[in-house]
Amino acid sequence: MTAASAPGNLVLLAVLLPFLGAILIPLFGEHPNRREAVTLVTAVALVAAVSGLLAPVLAGARPEAGGLEIAPGLVLAFKVEPLGMLFALVASTLWIVNSIYSIGYMRANKEPRQTSFYVYFAVALGSTIGVAFAKNLFTLFLFYEALTLSTYPLVSHKQNAEAMRSGRIYLALLLGTSTILFLPAIVATWVIAGTLDFTPGGILGGKASGAVIGFLLALYVFGIGKAAVMPLHFWLPAAMVAPTPVSALLHAVAVVKAGVFAILKVVVYIFGIETLSSSGSGDWLVYVACASLLLASLIALSRDNLKARLAYSTVSQLAYAVVGAALANPTSVVGSGLQIATHAVGKITLFFCAGAIYVAHHLTEVSEMRGIGRRMPITMFAFLVASLSIIGLPPFAGTWSKWTLSLGAVDGGRLAVVGVLMVSSLLNVAYLLPIVARGFFVPPADEKRGAIREAPLPCLIALCATALLCIVLFFQAEGIEQLLIGMIASG
């Protein structure tokens, strides 16, 4: 193994590790402790492999691996660039935390079919890393579809009528959009540009008219249904029927972020932000994303079911990142990248808390959670921290993404967008903080149930860890920004 090829091997290792874990997990199906140990070891090894790539990427290298040419245009290859690096780092780190949480949640709830749960989870993570490290649109598409297929059994996990129906919506919407819109967009890109490689500066510049670019952008944005841009968002609330660890890692981090990530990659490396902003073909997307951002927040206000409220909040927060991509200037794109990381830690904490409340007290509706803060003080404190981060207040991580996105809007000369972001922050306050207030200040209906009872220890450890990350990322934001600027600089 020469020094030059070492990072390349690490890339392959990172993609393959979760799949290897998925093969090993069922071998220990009879021994839950060893089975979960396999998941944890895999997750830790994955983080080690991914972090090993950080230094070279920061130094400006772009480690590559693979390169299997299947047919003209279809090349299976990986290449690590800053945005993918960040996404893989976030997803793999949170996988460790989420696995710890899952142990507590799945066992305390006595969920059936836990072995297949962990297997599909590992496959989903492997697919996520594949999406993050994809060198070209085909590889991204391949793992994007694998991610849909591997998470479908997790959505249908309960196997009752509601879970089956939600699973069908999930599959139909995600596979439907990707097949009808995303795939033709890829075919068209290949026919127009003659390559599908993600290239700094884009590959469509000067090769297609403004109208064609606008049309292609629409195909990509709506074809990548995982980004949940309205009106193609309703698979996400439906997917909340899954066990909470799935909602937490997959439907707040891996799956939805894979969508936003793919849109960002397409904007930066396929269209090129120069091409997009100079042709004005992305303007419509700014409006659509802003509408999605506000509407989803309003719907979140009206939802009493906690997970449904969080799901609409996710739809809204994803739209922030899409706005950043649509503005197509260097600052806004970095803001979108930041949003991927900061929203991830915030939203996973909120879902962990929702799951903890369900495990400890079997409560799902916000209206039932009076006085929950007195019974679960640690959980609700973590909920508060994460809420403030989502709203975008210092000293929590979300501050920086909102700030950078606003700067990007100013750079793009769109003060109205800044206004939208501000209004949305107020809406975030309105749908998140009353939950905390009700939990701490309204006395519980039943005084006997007032004793402190937190969720199982693994759940508690996990949600504290992610809440802590919300604070740590506030102070580490500059490092992330440095990483992300590499994405623009090379363009």
Binding site: L68, I70, L74, L142, P153, L171, L175, G176, I180, V187
Partner: protein, 497 residues
Amino acid sequence: MIAISPQLPILQIVVPLFGAFVTGFLRRGSTAFVVALVVSWIMPVIAGALLWQTLTSGPISYALGGWAPPWGIEYRVDVLNAFVLLLVSSVGAVIMPFAHRSVASEIEPSRQAWFYCMYLLCLAGLLGITVTGDAFNAFVFLEISSLSTYVLIALGRDRRALLAAFQYLILGTIGATFYVIGVGFIYLVTGSLNMVDAAARLGPVAADQSRAIIAGLAFVTVGLSLKLALFPLHVWLPNAYAYAPSVVTAFLAGTATKVAVYLMVRFFFSVFGVAIDFRALPVTEVLLALSIAAIFVASIIAVFESDLKRMLAYSSVAQIGYITLGIALANQSGLTGGLVHLFNHAVMKAGLFLALGAIFFRLGTVRIGDLAGLGRKMPLTMLAFAVAGFGIVGTPGTAGFISKWYLAIGALDRGWWWLVLLIVVSSLIALVYIGRVVEVVWFRPTSSALRQAADPPPSMMLPILALAAATIYFGFDTNLTANIAAAAAKMLLGGLR
């Protein structure tokens, strides 16, 4: 070995014919099975050697009985038919181990040897159609394969198999008759039955005999469309597939219609296309319209079929639509897509039908209502079904995606946006009928009636797994499939006027 290699084209036919002759005298089913197995496994070796020869040293011409063409019968092997030979013989070879247990359970002992005899005859016929360069000789082999197919279908245990076989006999005979009338027109104009020779002679007389040539083209097209089950001439297929023994269905789905498609491609591009500009005729438009109709109508019917064999049969009609769509596009990417789908669909659909055969072997039924929760009882079988099924849908990472990719590019090269949209939308209909099965077998509670069910014995399991693995393998390595299909497409399009 060196002495054998010039004789390979004829060995491809003589070995299965001789095998059929031998099994015809046998009484015991298992002895006949051994003969059929040995013959089936020799076939892909010969086909592989032929493909190798054509790739390294160009087309092979073999004068039957030493009579020089065009007077004698010529066996002519180029990249295209070597590719089809390899496909047909490989499907036969992979399926054969499955046959032993399946045939033993589905066919009466006294008729088992007879089954293998008919099977080998059918194989010989199909390989003969592919290998020959003589239009009338192709008709003879077409009849050999058809007659043996009627018998094979009628061997099905369900009494409706007799009716299905009879229905196919009527329609298949009409198809063969149309074909031979078309060949008669060509003979009328050129005085030759050798395809290469006839094509060369057609050119000079094209101007003043164009009506006869077009009539010949029309008869051949309609006749072969019946054999390859092009919508709306597909009515014989669902019943034939549904009531035939499981092995027969898998074999026919992977080979019979494919060979008819091959013959159509041969006539379009190597005979008529050389003489006249057939792209100026409405043939491609008609073919395009019928292909799209096949894809949509048959897929939608498949969604509503509760008998899985019938469901897959309608799915086959739809998938044949993709193949003929590629022919109708008649450009490099489109034709490559059609030809590669010929291969990919054969592999995937044979795998699906074998999986159904395994289910039938265990449960005696393939109605979707009886299969709830079967995934936990027959995990490997149902996993293979899901993999091959997603191949039919065209999920990336499977062989089916490669076909759709080439077809979509072929459509865009023509500037037909709407066709790309139709291709991707239609694959979602496939998702519905495949996904429905996956959901029932994996996500429903196992019914108590399935307590005894388990994966079939290895001789049946391995062929199923091999075909499922091939579905994924050919989604990543396309040297054998798309690259050869592209070479064949280039050759075919290069010969066009």
